[in-house]
């Protein structure tokens, strides 16, 4: 990178079913909170990025970055507003493009945001829109929706490595427990493995409580050149690396359906760029759109050996208080998963942790990873963030 970059402000709405609030309201709330947190005025913003998967289908609106710039009062300032999309990795892309924009020297103060309004459609229409993250021609027309495709991965992982149904349940149990301290989470109730396993199958072996919910919500962060960061706040968070990788969109074309190569490729590059190894990571926010996704992430990010992710979680090593806490926020499962917002929300939560003001706080965390996946793994974004103690 030509310039290093830091996060100086974060904000989000509560995630959930916001029947009474519009797409644009959600964004503005998150954006204003991030600006207030950074102590930045609207007239200081040089550019903004908006991660959004499917407003075209959910609310029949494209051109949404200009729309949110307009509602945030930035359009009349001519602030460039760029929507980025890679299914539910759209938020991760928004953060990464904001970092590249500052690194390029084109901008100094950039807002990265993500927003999705999913609950305006019925569930059939919502599921059909979601299927647009998979390959419509080769997977969806043949009956493969996203849940079914993750179910294939789960089944293969169980067969090859002995991952158990109970280990999948423990992902949901842990993430609900972590979310109990998170005031922005959609679900703050605890659940037991027995409850998870009593919910109906969505796509065997995955049950309803293996799935993140449909959610409305928005998140935003403010990034600036690292050298200027302490002029804004006392506790900036430094972007040690932001990397993105692609893989085949279809699951059947993958090298191995028990791993997401896009995650491991992006992670490898990010660790090299940041000069860290997986053992240096104190905690992680990962993409558990389905519980199996967290098992894969724990392995593909290098916290556990391939095949041992389920056990790692089941043994409490991914819990707050354990070796490498995973999803201390509650993850997508309990925070909710407004598709385009999630990748930004992960950075918001990692920043709160690194500042020491998270709802469910990790002790002595100074280096974090966030991992955001598009669809079944066609895209992954991996960021390494730190409190600067190790820089």
């Amino acid at each position: 990178m030509q310039r290093n970059v830091a996060v100086v402000g974060v904000g989000q709405t509560a995630f959930g079913e916001h029947w009474e609030r519009s797409f644009r309201d959600l964004f503005v709330t998150a954006g204003v909170r991030a600006l207030e947190d950074a102590g930045v005025g609207g007239d200081e913003i040089d550019a903004m990025y908006g991660g959004n998967m499917s407003a075209g289908q959910f609310i029949r609106q494209e051109h949404v970055a200009a729309l949110i710039a307009d509602y945030a009062g930035l359009a009349t300032e001519g602030v460039p507003a760029t929507r980025v999309e890679a299914a539910d990795a759209s938020g991760g892309l928004a953060f990464r493009q904001a970092v590249l924009d500052v690194a390029s020297g084109a901008s100094d103060v950039v807002v990265a945001s993500g927003v999705e309004k999913m609950t305006d459609l019925g569930s059939d229409e919502t599921n059909d829109a979601l299927a647009g993250s998979a390959d419509r021609e080769w997977e969806v027309f043949g009956g493969g929706n996203v849940a079914a495709l993750y179910a294939l991965m789960a089944r293969a992982h169980m067969n090859r490595y002995g991952t158990t149904r109970r280990e999948l349940s423990q992902v949901a149990v842990k993430n609900h427990r972590h979310a109990s301290g998170n005031e922005y989470a959609q679900y703050t109730n605890e659940v037991s493995a027995e409850v998870v396993e009593s919910t109906p199958y969505v796509a065997e072996p995955l049950r309803a409580f293996d799935c993140s919910p449909a959610s409305d919500g928005a998140a935003a962060v403010v990034v600036v050149p690292a050298e200027d960061a302490t002029a804004y706040v006392d506790d900036p968070v430094y972007v040690e690396a932001t990397e993105q990788a692609s893989d085949s969109l279809t699951v059947h074309d993958r090298r191995d359906i028990t791993a997401l190569d896009a995650t491991s490729e992006a992670a490898e590059r990010a660790y090299a760029e940041a000069n860290f190894s997986p053992g240096d990571i104190d905690f992680a926010e990962v993409h558990d759109s389905y519980t199996i996704g967290e098992v894969l992430a724990v392995e593909d990010l290098g916290f556990a050996e391939k095949g041992e992710g389920g056990g790692f979680i089941d043994e409490g090593r991914a819990s707050v208080g354990g070796e490498t806490p995973v999803n201390p926020s509650g993850g997508l499962k309990a925070c909710g998963h407004p598709l385009g917002a999630t990748g930004v929300r992960q950075v918001v939560d990692a920043t709160r942790q690194l500042r020491g003001d998270a709802g469910t706080q990790v002790e002595d965390g100074s280096v974090a990873v966030t991992q955001n996946v598009g669809g079944t793994g066609g895209t992954a974004v991996v960021n390494v963030l730190s409190d600067g103690g190790s820089v």
Copy 2:
């Protein structure tokens, strides 16, 4: 910018109604042509950007940058693939983000592409998808589609400045004439003003031949650091500036409906960055999605005084051979307008002109502007490109 950037390869499909070719086929054709033109192999590509407005609605597919990376054989290399969207300025965003990516130092060889497959839907569905570039809640629900909103601008411009129906016709006449030498254009037939004025009203005073068509097509360019450009090709084109601005999404919230402030704001920044004035520009590719759009562009880019754009075009000053040729390619009107592809196609055509190998060639052109608009003006991207003679 931290690093200067150059274009070393361009490619496109013919624009038109490609009933026999899919979205992914179109992109791959354009991408391969751009790589061949640059003499770059797929394994040299560090990142790609894809401009696309509405695949979610046109072909019910999101996550399209990963899809096209996959079909281009780049996904298994893990190449980051980022879709950007701002209605029909999506291609302009793709080019700009590719430039920022190289400028940031994150990547050295980046492909910017744009693609749209519009003809798979019926015209009612297509028009409804297009309306997603305007404000669905405040404009479209009230009956204001994009053509109607441009018609308001045209009527106001006629009333205030005396712009005539004949001057609007001359935009179409000139652009069809220019396209007659362009092998990639959708329409290479010449039309007379009388023919334009005999076509039915779409939204009075705009007639069918004031409107760019619905098109399928793709375009791609390869960008690299300027300092490396001559290692790829003998005739690189240098990016002197790339700027983007927003304005209110709704036309009724604009400062003035006879101008696109997003264009003039982006142009002002781009001229300052490139250290050029409008008088230094030898030719321009501008956004004539409706004929009035070219009149506004000629004014907002500073080639003519406000209110005098119609006369400028009618007097032949915007024709090849005139003072500042505008749309020597044929523009959106005659090239066709596959929404997400257009902003990239403009860079392709400007590059061909600057190299001296365009179908309808401008004499002694060494500095070009491209201007790409989203919807009715909520977004504009303005690039200044040169052959390096003035650098």
